[in-house]
């Protein structure tokens, strides 16, 4: 029964769903890595992106690619505003010890956004069938065009983000700020701006992904919960705060899920998936892709 075709198909399924997870995790990892906050409202940023995409395409009739850009830009602004308005004041009060408490703040943001969405948009799902209907077939192996789109989006975003962080001045400044804010300041880096931009990028990523995945994850108030959990898993497996790690851990988790679902007896695949993730963590506790950078 498990012919080569099936295995190829499963691998494609796993990688493509994993690409989504990786993308969801990337923004979370970035925000955690740089600001040191576990952004529990990350799923809600995703949700806002999804709503924005829905309203742009379905209500205003904007073509999808442009709508994607609009919602991404919008979410960047939302992210910057959130950082300036809520997170920066907390950091100012807590000084160097602020990080630890950050996530209660973001839990608050999560609850507020979720319920405001419920009040404003109602509980129903706003979704679309597909941006790009149809599928590609290679013999018995099929992949829907939506998944092709997502894979391409994931690859592009991963590459762009990695290059940005690695090669650009701003990217280096972002990493430097994470490692030693005071030293970064001394070199002339305005860390407050860096924090805001970083959060903005994280939010924009979440928003872009929310937009891109509208056909699978329709916009509704609690959609963020689903997303957050996956993103969380990916960030943990990848090594906290490692954007690269998250991007790579995504497909890994996708593959684990796909194979567990295909091979495990009915119902146990969820247990097996979480056990496997646990095993990964026990074997490689600091996450799969993190590297040591400090020494005693």
């Amino acid at each position: 029964m498990f012919t080569a075709d099936v295995l190829i198909q499963l691998t494609i399924d796993g990688v493509s769903r994993g690409a989504m997870y990786g993308l969801m995790g990337a923004g979370l990892a970035l925000i955690f890595g740089i600001l040191g906050i576990i952004n529990m409202a990350h799923g809600e940023l995703f949700m806002l992106g999804a709503y924005a995409m829905y309203f742009a395409t379905m209500v205003l009739g904007v073509p999808a690619p442009i709508a994607l850009l609009i919602s991404t830009a919008l979410m960047f602004c939302v992210g910057v505003a959130m950082e300036r308005g809520l997170i920066a004041p907390l950091r100012a009060r807590l000084g160097s010890r602020w990080l630890v408490d950050g996530y209660v703040l973001t839990i608050g943001i999560m609850v507020v956004l979720q319920n405001l969405a419920l009040i404003l948009f109602g509980p129903r799902e706003f979704g679309i069938a597909a941006f790009w209907p149809g599928r590609q077939e290679f013999g018995d192996v099929v992949i829907s065009n939506e998944r092709v789109l997502i894979l391409a989006g994931a690859l592009f975003t991963t590459g762009a983000l990695a290059l940005f962080l690695k090669k650009t001045n701003l990217g280096r400044a972002i990493r430097a700020t994470a490692e030693h804010p005071a030293a970064a300041q001394v070199l002339g880096i305005n860390i407050e701006r860096i924090y805001a931009i970083t959060f903005g990028i994280g939010a924009a990523l979440a928003g872009a992904i929310g937009s891109l995945l509208l056909s699978t994850y329709p916009a509704y108030p609690t959609v963020g919960g689903e997303v957050l959990l996956k993103a969380f898993v990916v960030v943990i497996i990848g090594g906290l705060g490692s954007v690269w790690g998250a991007m790579l851990a995504g497909p890994l988790l996708g593959l684990i899920e796909a194979y567990a679902t295909a091979f495990a007896p009915g119902g146990w695949q969820n247990t097996i998936t979480s056990l496997l993730v646990l095993a990964v963590l026990v074997l490689r506790p600091q996450g799969l892709f993190s590297r040591q950078v400090t020494r005693p």
Partner: protein, 339 residues
């Protein structure tokens, strides 16, 4: 005589306040009467002690236990299932629940405690999920998502525990909370507590003093797991129905507990009482506002954390410092961008 007095004077100003609080807590429900207030206070106490247990790990060892609801789950099912299959009493069940959870805590701990705080906590997230899914699937035993119905506590010393009477459950949990709190307090105040603080500050620095860091972490973790399990067992017999959903034994419940610990003030244990009073209480007071209630709840989380970054307890302590002559002692005001 004087030495005794001196010995107890310092910590016990706080202890006195706590005793007064507890006495108040014991009195309130019976003064108010009805079934609602006892039910709400039962919930407050439950979340208080879970918050304190969370804080016992977080505030003292920086272990952010994202899987705490899983230990609650282990305790709840541990007790409920042994009552069902081995016909023990729910009273023994409290112990069994605690042990079930402690064993899981021990295994998790042995596997993960080499790691830094946040990793341990995040790993427990998967322990929780594994447990939850396993319970969900082992339908023949646990009834899975259909829910396991659990009987109430059996009469003890002639006192009946009908589930319809929340007041008896309230006094039961009050007693459990006092015992647990006393145990935690004693640990935290002892040398072990001092070592916890040292580990929190600098693990390597502690280990080169000949202290087996992992053992202390394990101790902390297993003790916390045990008590969480006990309260899981209490919960099972109190609520009467167990379902392995995320709201009950998953991330949502964890987040509820975590917010209480933080809003109350981490590193204090008693802060969670303020957190639970405020957060659970507010939800009740605002009940009529429906969905706006949750918006207000979220906003108040944001507000509290921004205004009192170290929680209610931290705010109170600062207030106390300002009025006490010992001001400045232990006050380390951090500087902006301090290197």
């Amino acid at each position: 005589m004087t030495s005794l007095f001196q010995k107890f004077r310092f910590p016990d100003r706080r202890a006195l306040v706590i005793c007064a609080l507890l006495a108040g807590l014991a009195a309130i429900p019976s003064l108010v009467g009805g079934r609602y207030i006892p039910a709400v206070f039962t919930s407050i106490l439950l979340f208080f002690i879970l918050g304190a247990l969370f804080d016992f790990m977080l505030g003292y060892l920086r272990i952010v236990n994202f899987g705490i609801a899983g230990f609650l789950c282990a305790g709840a099912y541990g007790s409920a299932l042994s009552v069902q299959y081995f016909h023990i009493t729910p009273w023994t069940g409290l112990l069994v629940g605690g042990l079930a959870s402690a064993v899981i805590g021990l295994i998790t701990g042995v596997l993960t405690l080499r790691l830094r705080g946040i990793y341990i906590g995040l790993t427990t997230l998967f322990v929780m999920e594994t447990l939850r899914f396993a319970i969900s699937n082992a339908r023949e035993v646990t009834r899975g998502a259909s829910g396991l119905t659990v009987g109430g506590f059996t009469p003890l010393f002639g006192i009946p525990f009908p589930r319809s009477e929340p007041i008896t459950y309230y006094y039961l949990i009050l007693a459990l909370v006092i015992v647990t709190y006393a145990a935690l307090y004693a640990i935290v105040r002892s040398r072990i507590g001092l070592v916890f603080k040292a580990i929190r500050d600098d693990e390597l620095g502690t280990s080169v003093l000949g202290i087996h860091v992992v053992r202390y972490k394990l101790f902390n973790f297993v003790v916390a797991s045990f008590f969480v399990g006990v309260f899981g067992a209490f919960y099972a017999h109190y609520i009467g129905i167990l379902v392995p959903t995320a709201e009950e034994f998953g991330i949502q419940r964890t987040v509820e507990i975590l917010t209480i610990a933080y809003v109350g003030g981490r590193g204090t244990l008693w802060g969670s009482l303020l957190g639970a009073l405020f957060l659970v209480g507010m939800q009740e007071v605002l009940r009529d506002l429906q969905e706006w209630r949750l918006v207000i709840y979220g906003l108040s989380l944001i507000l509290i954390i921004t205004v009192f970054p170290s929680g209610f307890a931290g705010a109170l302590r600062q207030l106390g410092d300002r009025f006490s002559s010992r001001a400045g002692k232990g006050a380390h005001i951090s500087t902006k961008g301090d290197a």
